[in-house]
Point group: C2
Chain length 583, copies 2
Amino acid sequence: MAEREVDVLIIGAGPAGFMCANALAQAGIKVKVVDQRPSTVMAGQADGIQPRTIEVFQSYGLAERLLREGNKMILATFYNPGENGIELTERVPDVTAPTARYPYEVTLHQGAIENIFLDSMKAAGVDVSRPMIPTALELDPDKIGDPTAHAVKVVLKHLDPLEGEPPTEVVRAKFVVGADGAHSWVRKSLDIAMEGAQTKYIWGVVDMVPRTNFPDIRTKCVVHSESGSCMIIPREGDVVRLYIQLEGRDAIDATSGRVDKNRFGPHQLLEVARKAFRPYTFDTPDEFHWWTIYIIGQRVASKFSVDERVFIAGDACHTHSPKAGQGMNASMNDTHNLAWKLIYALRGWSGLSLLKTYEFERRKYAQDLINFDVEWAHMFSGKPRTELNQGGVAHADFLRAFQTFGGFTSGIGIHYAESPIVRYANQACAAHVVVGQRMPPQILVCVADYRAVELQDLLPSNTHFKLFVFTGCAPLDALGEAVEGLVVRFGRAVDLFTVLPSELRGLTFMDVPLALRPHWSKVLRDQKDTRGAQGGDAYATFGIDTQAGAIICVRPDGYVGMVAPLDQADSVAAYFSSFMNMD
Amino acid sequence: MAEREVDVLIIGAGPAGFMCANALAQAGIKVKVVDQRPSTVMAGQADGIQPRTIEVFQSYGLAERLLREGNKMILATFYNPGENGIELTERVPDVTAPTARYPYEVTLHQGAIENIFLDSMKAAGVDVSRPMIPTALELDPDKIGDPTAHAVKVVLKHLDPLEGEPPTEVVRAKFVVGADGAHSWVRKSLDIAMEGAQTKYIWGVVDMVPRTNFPDIRTKCVVHSESGSCMIIPREGDVVRLYIQLEGRDAIDATSGRVDKNRFGPHQLLEVARKAFRPYTFDTPDEFHWWTIYIIGQRVASKFSVDERVFIAGDACHTHSPKAGQGMNASMNDTHNLAWKLIYALRGWSGLSLLKTYEFERRKYAQDLINFDVEWAHMFSGKPRTELNQGGVAHADFLRAFQTFGGFTSGIGIHYAESPIVRYANQACAAHVVVGQRMPPQILVCVADYRAVELQDLLPSNTHFKLFVFTGCAPLDALGEAVEGLVVRFGRAVDLFTVLPSELRGLTFMDVPLALRPHWSKVLRDQKDTRGAQGGDAYATFGIDTQAGAIICVRPDGYVGMVAPLDQADSVAAYFSSFMNMD
């Protein structure tokens, strides 16, 4: 039986598996990815990328292609019962999070998104082995404590072996990531329970190029009608996805209690939609690209890891309704959170305990997601309030929920709790840069060449922490001396940037001491660009005093780990020391 | 001897040849490209891409990569003699053209730019045959009048033939483009004279990663010192190009009157620069990437074409100083102008006479360029005005020239004269959209999905004219009927867009008659985007009355061909009919 060693074995090449594999591949980690399907998804499945996830794509250099291939969903529209069927109630921006760098969702079918990752991974020398499934997984208790040991043994089976290829192989991995979907084999083999329940809500989905006179067909449109709810998600090209609420009695097999896909096809789903959309018409399209029916489940895995050696991520650890477009985003952000921590453990930069923060941060998020989903699915699937149904969902309440939850659904508002890598202390010195949230976008100007620089573009997912020294009007030489030790000690894992206030307009980059300018491109100033169009408000926006300054420390995944006053460079060292071994 | 037929043979794979080859390849034209060099340029040569040229790259889908790989040159700085050597006089934006979509120059070495084209061409199935030179060119006088005939015979010689490959081949082409540089074989074989003269100005060039304490090393910096002039061009990565003015007696061989490269090397050039840059220092770099010495010549070819079957383009038809960064831009825009006209002739959409507008438009531009260059080279190479030299060039005059010429050097101000494809009549109905200039950028909002759309992104170089119907408040049904005939007759070559004024805020795209909306994405409105950040000023910016409306017709190369009042759809038909055969 063939046997090989890898650093990380990833089981499942969906959004969670791909995000993980690509991040590890870009960092030069020896990774193997297996998937049971013979190819990437051809149609259907997930399709919505939230504003924060676009920022994450950008941090891996993948946003350009995503934006080129995908559709931008700018507008949300709401229809409710009127005189003659449904009527437009309101059009509002789809994304309400004020700091979103990309104020829209991108919609693109999951296969195209997977291909973006696949091409990026291939450029780094990593491909997916498929179709292939795991058949046994074993943790060696003697090796669990040694991060350099290949502590996990997994037996893999080729479903379609090439001639002469052994049908099974054994992989010994330092870490295993189970990103193998809602029916996760990894989760089951680890005996991890899913906690939560199934709802009573049943929905159908159809992907097609619609033939309709509905004027908001290219918006995210929520329809509450007397004949049930529908939602439109416009997609790449002319494709549109319709979500259609179904009555249980129509779709459920009474004996088994499960969805019976034999009772419904896309034609039947479209027929239900037609009733909801009256007086607008939907002619039968030339073809249906994809369709499905599902019951909303709302569950979270009881744990996300075993001994910090085997992890589960994505649908393997949380299921919820797709209506707020969270599924693929939650999944990818799980492994975006996990990947740099695996790399730190593999490089010996951190101990295994850093990996505990994965479950700590992402399980809480998954629970918040389910709590949100309970409310949201209720409002979504509920009957609209009308004269005859005063107990129904009022549009004003629905809109308020839509906008209140906007920070959460956009991913912008995700807030990690305190831990070794998130220190809330000193928050006041950069009051509006919320520790535990992602670093917001901000235009700065490069002192050497006056280029307008988007701060988020200084945060590539390159496994490094980014230290922004907002100098205020502090004496630069003394400041340079104070941070020099930090850079010497943690420089392998930390990139330093200096941000001068507009008060220091007269300085050139040559006036900044060498300790504060590792490269000419890393000295920035808070000023407007040469057209006066952007920038000049970083200190104010971040709540940093232009005299006192502050240090902002951003994690490798783009989340703010800590902030500190300039005279507490020591606290930054203490922060790094608490989880990094670099003495 | 091998013999083959092609539609277009391009001789020379430099910027002019590549722009032409890529445009033809993207349009599916059968094209052959030969070049005498064994590979793309590895270092040196041209390196500046002007704002208008970036817009042209964008129209071919190539700007993303250009911007990713290149350096953005934002700032121009000026140094003049002071107490102790040179002193900073002023820092100003490098690009002053107010409508420039990209308010900077991109600097990147020529080889990288050539590779952008090469990869794009290869994706369309076209590569460069090299090293290969033409040895004979013959026009068949009996075939010259027939656009479908392969009227030009060229004998090509492989300089490094593969084993078994015949050393020469004969190509019969419908058209030949000579983009073979300042010493153009094609030009000489056609007996076309270069008109103009050589100047007295001699300059050296060095590419290197500098070791300096000069604070404006990442800006376009013009130094007028007591010891001659210098210019800095910052480039990709940390590379910088230095232009260094030389004294004739140091660099010229008295006997031959030519530049003697034996007398100078990069070390000597840097030594001259050091004197000009005092008190700042330039240590000797680890290596010099490239260097050269040249005398500025200012010449234009007496004609750009023979019988509209053989054309010359780029350095083959104009030479001038590189100081305003025009060379590569003029060259690429020559063939950007030529390519769509060749395609129209090849497709039978136009007669050969359309091709006369190439020389008409580009030779006048080349002459303007030389006239500009005479003034500019004088100011650039002249001694600075000081107390002792009151006849020298004053900074204020230099800056005024820099900013006045900015429209021209950026490429934004290029203005083609009247011809069958440029009709100045009716200018008043869209007063600020200058007929004969490139269509300026403008944010519009897509009515169906509220996406902010950059109008220039609706102008891909896809060989089609673009007709923008600014409806004003005219009755839409009547307007639809008026343009329907146009679309039916010229639709193969013309794309139509509708732009509603903000007054028609209540309309959805379904309210626009079908003749005015070939696709949901083509109905736009003059309104702000959902964040209120951009757009909403198109009618005002273009000088179009929001009641009366107007039609703007943009050529396939992005230049405004004509404008018309809404009640003169006939004049648009007359315009197309004057050079298009589509009855």
